[in-house]
C-alpha cells in the first residue's frame, strides 16, 4: 500500500514537473524560435513625419531705385517684413509659405546698371552686382517714367534671379510707407510666385501623397507630362532613316549634345544624373501612312494619327539593360523620298511650326524634311545631307525642358519673361524646379517610409533585417534635416538632404529581403502543430486532471471527516 502511494506520488510529481517544464521552458522557447526577426524601427518618428508640415521660406530683396520713393518713405527704408501664409492641403498635410522681404534702396552701381538701354543688358549687369543664392529673388523697382521696360510691360524677369518691376505713379501710391507697401506687396508676391513657387505648383508636387482632383485639364496635363523625381535619367537621341538608298544622313550629335544639351544638364546636375546616348536606325518606318495634301503638295500627318506613331518604333529603340532609370527618347525622323515633305498638322489642320510632337513621360519626335536640300534634277542617289543640328536641338531642348518639369505655363499679363536661349534654363526656372522637386522628394520619402512602417505592421510575417532598420533611420534623419533646411530657406541643402532621404527610403522599401514569408491560413497552422504537440500534451493534461480530481476528492474527504 505504501509503495503504491509512493508510486502514485512519484507519478504525480513527474506529471507536474513535466507540465511545469513545458509551460515555463517549452512554450517560450517555441515562441522565440518561431517568431520572425524584426529589427526595431523608429515608428514614433515615422508617425510624426507622416503628418507633413512643410514650411517654405523665400528670401526676397526689394531694391528701390531713385525716383520711386517719396522722402517720407525713404526715411523708413531699409526695413524687413515677414509674410506668412498657411494652407491646409488635407488632414495630414499643411503648408506654410514664408516670404522674408528686405527693402532697401539701390546703390550707385545698381543705379548705373538700371540706366542701360534695354532690360536684357540691365539684367546682365545687375546679375554681377548681387550675389543671390539659390532660392532667393531680387526685385528692382523702377519708377513709372523709366524707359527700361517697353510699353505695356510692368515686370521683366531675366535669366538670373532678378526681376524688374515698374511701380505705379507716386500720386496713386501715396505718401505713407504703409500705402507703399499696400501697393507693392501684392505685386511683389505675384512676381515671387512666378519665380519660385505657387500654391498650385507645390500641391502638384505633392500628388504622390494627395491625389487631388485636378483643377483644369492643363494642370492635369502638366502633372502627367513630366517625369517623377528620380535619381537619374537616360536620354537617347535616335536618328531614323527609313530610306538609306536616297538619303545619306550625317548628324554631328556629339558636338550638338556638347554645345546645346550639356549646359542644361550641367545646370541640372544637383537634381539628377543624366546619361546620354545616341543611335541611328535604318529602315525604321513610322507606323502610320501620311496623307497627301494636294493644296500644300506635301504629305501630312494629322494630330489624331500621331498617337499610333510611337508604338511600332518603340520596339526598335532599345534601352540600357543595366539601369532602371526612366528613359527619355528623342527621335529625329527624316521622311523617305516618296513621302517628302511631311508636315504635322494640329487639331485645327494648321501646320505646326516646329514639326514635332511629344508624348508625356516618353519623349519627342521631330520630322525633318530634307527634300529642299537637293534639287529635282539628276542628283545621284544617295544624297549626302548634313543635318542642321541647331534647329533640331532647339526643338529637342524645348521638349526636354517640358519632360523634366520646367513649367510652360504662360506668364501673367504684363509680364515679360526673357526666353532662356542657349543656356537652356534660367536660374529662376532652376529654382522653381528645385522647390517642386524638393517638396516632391520629401513627400515621396515620407509616404514611402510611412507605408513601409504600415505594411510591416500589417503583414506580420516579414523579416526586418538590421540593414533595413539602419536605412529607415537614415531616411528619417535626412527627412528631418530637409524639412529644417526648407524652413530656414536653404534650398540647395534642402534638395541634397531630400535626395538622400529618397534614395535611402527607396533602398529600404525595395530591399529584396522584404518579401513576405509564405502565408499559411490558420487551419493549416493548426494542422501542422497538432500532430506534434497533441500526443505530448494529452498524457500531461490527463494526469493533471487526474491530480486535480484526486485533490478535490481528498478535500471532500477531509471536509466530511471534519463534519
Amino acid at each position: 500500500m505504501a509503495t503504491a502511494e509512493v508510486e502514485r506520488k512519484r507519478g504525480q510529481l513527474a506529471a507536474l514537473s513535466i507540465a511545469v517544464v513545458v509551460v515555463l521552458v517549452g512554450v517560450p522557447l517555441w515562441w522565440r524560435t518561431t517568431e520572425t526577426y524584426r529589427a526595431w524601427l523608429p515608428v514614433n518618428q515615422i508617425n510624426e513625419l507622416a503628418e507633413l508640415q512643410l514650411q517654405l521660406s523665400v528670401d526676397v530683396e526689394v531694391v528701390f531705385s531713385r525716383g520711386t520713393l517719396t522722402p517720407e518713405q525713404q526715411k523708413k527704408v531699409p526695413f524687413t517684413r515677414t509674410q506668412e501664409e498657411a494652407q491646409k492641403v488635407d488632414d495630414d498635410t499643411t503648408l506654410r509659405y514664408r516670404y522674408e522681404s528686405k527693402y532697401r534702396t539701390a546703390n550707385i552701381m545698381e543705379e548705373d546698371a538700371l540706366k542701360q538701354p534695354t532690360a536684357a543688358e540691365a539684367d546682365l549687369s545687375l546679375h554681377t552686382l548681387s550675389a543671390s543664392p539659390c532660392g532667393s529673388v531680387v526685385v528692382y523697382v523702377i519708377p513709372e517714367t523709366s524707359v527700361l521696360l517697353p510699353q505695356g510691360v510692368d515686370v521683366y524677369i531675366g535669366h538670373r534671379r532678378t526681376a524688374v518691376l515698374r511701380m505705379g505713379a507716386p500720386m496713386s501710391v501715396g505718401k505713407n510707407h504703409k500705402q507703399l507697401l499696400a501697393h507693392l506687396e501684392p505685386r511683389i508676391t505675384q512676381v515671387v510666385q512666378v519665380m519660385s513657387f505657387s500654391h498650385t505648383d507645390i500641391t502638384a508636387a505633392l500628388s504622390d501623397r494627395v491625389r487631388l482632383s485636378p483643377g483644369s485639364k492643363e494642370s492635369l496635363a502638366d502633372s502627367m507630362r513630366s517625369f517623377k523625381s528620380s535619381p537619374g535619367y537616360e536620354i537617347t537621341f535616335s536618328l531614323l532613316n527609313p530610306d538609306p538608298k536616297s538619303h545619306r544622313l550625317d548628324w554631328d550629335i556629339e558636338g550638338a549634345v556638347h554645345s546645346y544639351i550639356q549646359p542644361l544638364l550641367t545646370k541640372l546636375a544637383p537634381l539628377a544624373n543624366f546619361s546620354i546616348d545616341s543611335q541611328i536606325l535604318y529602315y525604321a518606318m513610322l507606323g502610320v501612312n501620311p496623307r497627301f495634301d494636294s493644296s500644300l503638295e506635301a504629305y501630312t500627318l494629322n494630330a489624331d494619327s500621331l498617337a499610333h506613331v510611337i508604338n511600332p518604333v518603340e520596339a526598335r529603340l532599345g534601352s540600357n539593360a543595366a539601369s532602371s532609370n526612366p528613359v527619355l527618347n528623342f527621335l529625329l525622323y527624316v521622311p523617305d523620298a516618296h513621302h517628302s515633305p511631311l508636315y504635322i498638322h494640329d487639331h485645327q489642320k494648321q501646320p505646326v511650326a516646329s514639326n514635332a510632337f511629344h508624348s508625356p513621360r516618353w519623349g519627342g519626335i521631330m520630322v525633318y524634311n530634307v527634300n529642299d536640300l537637293y534639287g529635282r534634277g539628276e542628283t545621284p542617289l544617295p544624297v549626302n545631307i548634313n543635318i542642321n543640328m541647331e534647329k533640331v536641338m532647339g526643338v529637342f531642348l524645348a521638349q526636354l525642358r517640358l519632360m523634366l518639369g520646367v513649367q510652360s505655363s504662360p506668364a501673367p499679363p504684363g509680364f515679360l519673361v526673357e526666353p532662356c536661349g542657349g543656356a537652356g534654363l534660367a536660374d529662376w526656372e532652376l529654382d522653381r524646379l528645385m522647390w517642386s522637386r524638393t517638396v516632391e522628394n520629401v513627400a515621396t520619402a515620407t509616404t514611402t517610409i510611412t507605408s513601409l512602417a504600415q505594411l510591416l505592421d500589417q503583414i506580420g510575417n516579414i523579416v526586418i533585417n538590421d540593414n533595413i532598420a539602419s536605412q529607415v533611420s537614415s531616411t528619417v534623419t535626412s527627412l528631418q534635416l530637409a524639412v529644417a533646411e526648407l524652413e530656414a530657406g536653404n534650398l540647395g541643402f534642402a534638395l541634397q538632404y531630400s535626395k538622400e532621404a529618397i534614395l535611402a527610403s527607396e533602398r529600404a522599401f525595395f530591399d529584396p529581403s522584404l518579401l513576405h514569408l509564405l502565408y499559411f491560413p490558420d487551419d493549416q497552422k493548426f494542422a501542422i502543430y497538432i500532430p506534434l504537440f497533441l500526443p505530448m500534451c494529452v498524457p500531461i493534461l490527463l494526469s493533471l486532471i487526474k491530480i486535480a480530481s484526486e485533490a478535490r476528492q481528498r478535500r471532500k474527504l477531509k471536509q466530511s471527516k471534519k463534519d
Binding site: 513621360r361 532647339g394 507605408s451 530591399d511
Partner: protein, 441 residues
C-alpha cells in the same frame, strides 16, 4: 387649348436643346477622353504557371494573350512574360518551334518574335511576387523588371491550375489569394500602378480576387468558386488540348479590337457566357474608381499614347562649339574592327567528311544508307530554331545526368556530340546553331 400648344412647343424645343447639348457633350467627351484615363503608359505581366506537356494549353493561352497585347501596341520592353515550361521545343511536340492555339494548326502563336523574360524554373511564386512588388536583386536586368510608375495601367494575366483560394505554380508550390492581395496592396502603397486589370483563367478563379482590398483594381475570372474552367478543343495530331475556353473566346473578342477602337469594359464582361464556357465567368469592379462603361479595352490591352504638339522651340543662336581636344583625340584612333572567327566551319566540315568516309570503309553499305537517310531527313527538318536547342539540351542532359550509365566514358560522350554535329551541319543556319552549342551555361 393655347396653353397646351405652348406647353407642347416648349417640350419639343427643350428636347431639341437637350439633344444638341448631348451631341456637343459627346464631342467634348471624345476630346476629353484623351485625359480621362489618367495613364501614360501600359504594362502587361503574363504568367503561365504550369509545366509538363499536357498543360500545353496554358502556354498557348499566355502566348495568345501576349500576341494580342503586342498587336495592340504594348512593346516587349513593357511586357513581362513568364512561361513555366517550353512547349515549342518540348520533345513531345510533333511540330517543334510552334505553339498552336487553334485546332488544325491554324494559328501559330509562337512565331519569330516572342521574348520570354522568365522561363522554366525561374517562374516561381517568389519571382512573381518580386516582379510585382519590385523587390528584385540589383543584378536583375531591365527586361525582367516591372518598371511601372503611378501613371501606368497594368494588365496581369494568370493561367494554370488553381483551386479555392490558390494557384499552383510549377506543380510544387502555390500562391494564395491573400498573398496576391498583399502584393497588390504593396504596389498601391508605392503607387506602382494607376489602374490594374487582373484576369485569371483557372479552375475556381473567382476565389483569387475575393481578397483584394486596394483601390483601382478590376478583376475577371473564368469560373466561380466550385466550378472548373474547361479546355476548348483537342488537336488530334498534337495530342493535347490547345486552349482553354475562356481565353479562346477572350481572344476572339480581342481580334476585333484595333488600337483606335472604343469598345469598353462592359463588353469584356460579357465574353464567354455560360453557354459557351460551361463555367460562369465572374468579374469584380467594386474597387475600381471609374465606371467600367467608360473604360476602354485599349486602356489595358493596348498602348495608346497621349500626344501633344510641341508648340515652342528654343532659338539657339550660338554656333556649335568644337568638342574639347580630349574627346576628339580618343576618337581618332578608332579603326575598323572585325569579328573573330568563332568557329572554323570549313575545317569542321572537312574533318567530318573525312571521318564519315573512314566510317564507310569499315561498315560498307549500311553506313552509307544511314548517311543518306539522315541527309534527306534534314531537308524536311523543322526550322533549326528548335533542333539546335533540343540537341543542346540533350547534350546538357548527357553532361549532367548522374544516374545514367550510358555516358560515363568520354569517348561515348564525344561520339554523341559528334553525331549531333553531323546531323545539322547540313542545315543553313549552321553558325548560329553551332554557336548555341558552344555557349557556356
Amino acid at each position: 387649348m393655347a396653353r397646351h400648344c405652348t406647353v407642347k412647343i416648349f417640350v419639343l424645343l427643350s428636347l431639341f436643346n437637350l439633344s444638341f447639348l448631348v451631341s456637343t457633350n459627346n464631342i467634348e467627351d471624345k476630346a476629353g477622353q484623351f485625359f480621362n484615363s489618367g495613364h501614360t503608359n501600359n504594362w502587361a505581366v503574363l504568367v503561365c504557371t504550369s509545366r509538363f506537356w499536357f498543360n500545353y494549353r496554358h502556354v498557348a493561352n499566355t502566348l495568345s494573350v501576349y500576341r494580342s497585347v503586342k498587336r495592340l501596341g504594348i512593346p516587349d520592353s513593357r511586357i513581362v512574360l513568364m512561361l513555366a515550361d517550353d512547349m515549342a521545343c518540348n520533345h513531345r511536340n510533333p511540330k517543334p518551334a510552334t505553339v498552336f492555339s487553334h485546332k488544325n494548326m491554324e494559328l501559330n502563336v509562337y512565331g519569330d518574335d516572342v521574348e520570354v523574360d522568365y522561363r522554366g524554373y525561374e517562374v516561381t511564386v517568389e519571382n512573381f511576387l518580386r516582379v510585382l512588388t519590385g523587390r528584385l536583386p540589383a543584378s536583375t536586368p531591365r527586361s525582367k523588371r516591372l518598371l511601372s510608375d503611378d501613371r501606368s495601367n497594368i494588365l496581369i494575366y494568370l493561367t494554370g491550375h488553381g483551386g479555392n483560394g490558390f494557384l499552383k505554380f510549377q506543380d510544387s508550390e502555390e500562391i494564395s489569394n491573400v498573398e496576391l492581395a498583399d502584393a497588390f496592396e504593396q504596389m498601391w502603397q508605392k503607387r506602382r500602378y494607376n489602374e490594374l486589370l487582373f484576369i485569371i483563367d483557372t479552375c475556381q478563379g473567382a476565389s483569387m480576387y475575393e481578397r483584394f482590398y486596394s483601390p483601382n483594381l478590376m478583376a475577371l475570372a473564368s469560373s466561380q468558386v466550385g466550378e472548373d474552367s474547361l479546355s476548348h478543343q483537342p488537336d488530334l495530331a498534337i495530342g493535347v488540348h490547345l486552349m482553354d475556353r475562356y481565353t479562346f473566346y477572350l481572344l476572339e473578342f480581342l481580334e476585333d479590337i484595333h488600337p483606335s477602337s472604343t469598345t469598353n469594359m462592359n463588353q469584356l464582361f460579357k465574353v464567354c457566357p455560360k453557354s459557351q464556357c460551361v463555367s460562369t465567368p465572374g468579374h469584380r469592379t467594386d474597387l475600381f474608381l471609374r465606371d467600367p462603361g467608360r473604360v476602354l479595352i485599349t486602356d489595358f490591352f493596348g498602348s495608346v499614347r497621349k500626344v501633344e504638339i510641341t508648340m515652342e522651340t528654343i532659338n539657339l543662336s550660338s554656333p556649335m562649339e568644337p568638342l574639347p581636344e580630349r574627346i576628339l583625340s580618343e576618337d581618332r584612333q578608332r579603326e575598323t574592327q572585325y569579328y573573330v572567327d568563332q568557329l572554323p566551319v570549313s575545317g569542321i566540315i572537312h574533318q567530318v567528311n573525312t571521318r564519315t568516309h573512314a566510317r564507310t570503309r569499315t561498315h560498307a553499305r549500311t553506313r552509307t544508307h544511314a548517311r543518306t537517310r539522315t541527309r534527306t531527313r534534314t531537308h524536311t527538318h523543322p526550322p533549326p530554331h528548335c533542333s539546335g536547342t533540343r540537341s543542346y539540351y540533350k547534350v546538357h542532359q548527357l553532361r549532367h545526368s548522374a544516374d545514367s550509365d550510358l555516358h560515363t566514358s568520354p569517348l561515348s560522350f564525344s561520339l554523341e556530340k559528334f553525331f549531333h554535329l553531323r546531323t545539322f551541319l547540313k542545315s543553313p543556319t549552321l553558325a548560329l546553331v553551332l554557336k548555341q552549342q558552344k555557349e557556356p551555361h
